[in-house]
Amino acid sequence: MSDTPTLELELKQLIIDTLELEDITADDIVADEPLFIDGLGLDSIDALELGLALQKHYGITLDAEAEDTRTHFASLNALRALVEARRER
């Protein structure tokens, strides 16, 4: 998809701004590495904050209890696929 690189950068910036990652740049977020714990090192509060940002920016509502929510947040690639498939704005 032609807008993939743009969306990727947009999502990186969304993560940095929403989660106030003061020392991180877009280049530091590797698209296929884990966002949580081992990779970027985000935590459970970040997951809630990110869920809220997705709702606000793309109109995507996630069920916090659903098993696939974990899959959507696995990496930036997974997040991008979710936004491409389910965005409403």
């Binding site: 003061e22 985000l42 904050e49």
Partner: protein, 244 residues
């Protein structure tokens, strides 16, 4: 009890010369806190963590943190968001708006398993904090007290008693004198009811007044901080050193 060491921070200077234990900067940065946790700390929070790690590098002591207003700025931002239609509240801000949030993050960073306690007392924070400290000192040899506050947020600039500048002060207190450390004796005597009516001393001291008191005690044989209930006196261990 005895004061064995102290550290302080204020966002801006209040005198021409300050003690070397007072850090003055509008943007304190807790370098010892990993970036992923540091982003959750406000300026005051970063200053508090720095003071605590300077006084107790291995986090072996209980900490009592008193603050009159806590992170009011954060709570106001949440309240503002709550009044906007379709504006969801930030879970991160919410989780950090509680009064013990700074100590919570400090305990994660320092891996402290000691008792950590947050206190607010409508202006009587200093005395509330000290009476908690006395309680701990009946069972332990040492305790750390930390007193911080923010400057008035814009919305509250004409309301409430805020210090002129955001500030924090931490004191390491011990039950007895510590050998090899120049500790000052800290005692309290009751304020007489008549005197408390007429005194012009700040009887609800902010951290800035406490810092001033500690700085005075470095130069004078005796320095007094008058609060609502007690006069708190610091008495130098030896004749006051010559600081000229």
């Amino acid at each position: 009890m005895h004061l064995t060491d102290w550290r302080a921070w204020q966002a801006s200077a209040t005198r021409t010369a300050h003690d070397s234990r007072v850090e003055i900067t509008p943007t304190p940065r807790a370098e010892q806190v990993p970036a992923m946790l540091r982003r959750r700390l406000s300026s005051v929070g970063q200053a508090c963590c720095t003071l605590l790690s300077a006084l107790d590098p291995h986090a072996n002591l209980p900490v009592i943190h008193a603050s009159r207003h806590g992170d009011t700025t954060r709570i106001l931002a949440l309240l503002d968001a709550a009044t906007q239609p379709d504006e969801a509240l930030s879970p991160a801000r919410f989780s950090l708006s509680v009064h013990n949030a700074i100590l919570g993050l400090y305990s994660i960073v320092s891996q402290s398993h000691q008792p950590l306690e947050a206190v607010a007392a409508c202006g009587d924070e200093f005395e509330a904090m000290m009476s908690e400290a006395l309680g701990y000192l009946t069972e332990r040899d040492e305790v750390i007290v930390l007193f911080s506050d923010i400057a008035a947020p814009d919305a509250f600039i004409h309301h409430g008693d805020y210090p002129a500048h955001a500030s924090a002060v931490a004191m390491r207190l011990s039950r007895s004198t510590v050998t090899g450390v120049g500790s000052a004796e800290l005692s309290a005597s009751p304020v007489s009811p008549a005197a408390s009516q007429t005194t012009h001393s700040p009887n609800a001291p902010t951290p800035l007044e406490v810092i001033h008191w500690l700085e005075q005690a470095e130069h004078l044989p005796e320095a007094t901080l008058t609060c609502r209930r007690q006069h708190w006196q610091l008495v130098a261990p030896h004749p006051a050193p010559d600081h000229d």
